[in-house]
Symmetry: C2
Subunit: 353 residues, 2 copies
């Protein structure tokens, strides 16, 4: 079934209110989840609600968090999410970074005591919509990426998003996990009973596997690169960079040592990192955007290997999804729709889809 974005938003809103979330936190979460769904990033939109519900029931989510700026300078800030869902502190932090960068040319804001924040690209784009370059990253509480040579998952899928404004082009927007693929791709392969391409995932012992079942059971993903021969140490290094900026810098937790360092903690303490940068601190008005257009146009005009598959730039597939989904609604499999209804029923919220 396809559900119109407004109706899906209304359902999410009803649930968050029934959970006792504040209005600003509710609106931020709804906005960021629907933005992910509209962009075709299904894994980071409404599909997350059942997991959020589970965390809530386990006492791992603060339903009435007090999101606070705990440190601040003209170009930096540290935001504390107080253990609630990540969207509200993340949006607060990105807005801070944007406002500071619009004044000073550059700003970085870290977030600690946060949680899942949805799709990183949506935050980076908020900067681009204000004429700034935006960067958004997060660490993750459950590990997946196995460092090159190792057998142990040591990082989450640790995404990097980077957005930049064009003049006649819509913004460039890279939004990538630092793993070769997302867990969702393993699930899809398992559903279709297909072998995995070599280089996607590892079995419980840390050896390369082509079995989707073995990979789903181990939850062990390769870093971007896939194999040592194809330079997986680079993806491993990028995942570590994201961890350093999102965990060590704001004071969030590194999942592999969490149990040992914080044995009594129920919550996860996820961290994020946001940055905004004003091209006008470096170039004259409009020069950056014109030059970016030149690059984007040249990339799209370059000769494709397969004429049926033109060369894309980052952000193109998501914009196509938005056009499609704003017109025809967001495709929600019946199984997911039923899960969302059940979450609503369980907390006494109205069922709206």
């Amino acid at each position: 079934m396809n559900i119109h974005a407004e109706n899906l938003a209304a359902q999410l809103r009803a649930v968050f209110r029934a959970w006792g979330m504040s209005d600003p936190a509710t609106e931020a979460s709804v906005r960021m989840m629907i933005a992910a769904d509209l962009r075709g990033i299904d894994s980071h939109g409404a599909m997350m609600l059942p997991l959020y519900d589970q965390l809530r029931r386990e006492g791992r989510l603060n339903m009435a968090p007090e999101v606070k700026i705990v440190r601040e300078s003209p170009v930096t800030a540290l935001v504390d999410g107080d253990g609630g869902l990540g969207h509200y502190p993340a949006e607060t932090a990105m807005r801070l970074a944007i406002d500071k960068a619009a004044r000073a040319g550059l700003a970085a804001v870290g977030v600690r005591n946060s949680n899942h924040f949805g799709a990183a690209g949506v935050y980076a784009l908020q900067a681009a919509e204000r004429g700034l370059i935006g960067i958004a990253m997060t660490n993750v509480w459950n590990t997946a990426i196995v460092p090159t040579r190792s057998t142990a998952a040591m990082f989450g899928t640790n995404p990097i998003a980077f957005a930049a404004p064009g003049k006649n082009n819509p913004p460039f927007c890279l939004d990538m996990a630092t793993s070769t693929v997302a867990i969702g791709k393993l699930k899809l392969a398992a559903l279709h009973d297909k072998p995995l391409p070599r280089g996607w995932a590892l079995d419980a012992g840390g050896a390369a596997t082509e079995s989707a079942q073995a990979a789903l059971a181990s939850r062990k993903l390769t870093p971007l690169g896939g194999t040592p021969e194809l330079s997986s140490h680079k993806g491993y290094g990028l995942a570590a960079m994201v961890e350093i900026l999102c965990a060590m810098l704001p004071g969030a937790w590194f999942a592999p040592t969490r149990a040992q360092r914080h044995p009594d903690a129920k919550r996860f303490n996820v961290g994020h990192f946001f940055m905004a940068l004003d091209p006008k601190a470096f170039r004259g008005e409009g020069e950056f955007e014109t030059d970016l257009d030149d690059m984007l146009d040249a990339l799209r005009a370059s000769r494709p290997l397969d004429p049926a598959q033109p060369v894309l730039v980052h952000g193109d597939p998501e914009r196509a999804a938005i056009v499609e989904r704003e017109r025809h609604g967001i495709p929600v499999p019946e199984a997911l729709a039923e899960q969302l209804r059940e979450v609503a029923r369980n907390c006494g919220a109205q069922v709206l889809i």
Copy 2:
């Protein structure tokens, strides 16, 4: 033959002086090239001298550049390299970023009208040695990376370097091209007459090739990921991000449209991007470094797939090379030594190796 770093430095210094380079430019270039050689990054050290000589003879390098700060704020700056070698403007820019970040918590400095600057990691490490997080990137005048779906090389190997200071651990230092592998690896495969792993390179038509000869002739590399199935669109996106920060932001040139946009230009106008970030703007004294140690120690202690190959963190191989090369000298193949001597003879410099 092995040449002691001081002797190799003396040879480079004699050549740069004979070329008429200023003392500060000479010292910066010598320092950065020897640092690359000591770290085992042979492709970015003394081995570059013959290419620099060729650019000089072609009139593509300004031997007496006036490196200038053309725009500046408390947290940003734009440096113009005036068409000389990249090391001097790059070191100037990184030092500016470090000094500004030490005062303000964060700074970004762009460089335009520059050239090859050596190994990106050496600049990022300068920040880490001052207790800051450092980032260094550069674009490249000759293209190599072919975007996913395309047949045309549109980016250089566009490297990203990221360094961060530990407490008891030496700095974490990621220094990676955004291509799957460097051109040097193709040359090595050709020398040994070995097929290339699928996913490293493309032939002139843009199709995957296992022929090192075909790949060297086409100079077409895949973006990190290697194949679309293994998410080469991510490496493509990272290469584009580096281009945006190093070309569009400071006002350097995008190689594929250079001939069209700047038909009369002899020089290349390469650009760089540097950033420094002070952990103390976010955490209490020493907290960041302690948490980074916790991560680095956990990574090294994680169980390796092959007990003979322990898990490394980024910076480990380079530090091992430094220990070895400070003791036993820098290995210089006789063919390279003869090239260096010829460069010296051609400009009337003393032959010192």
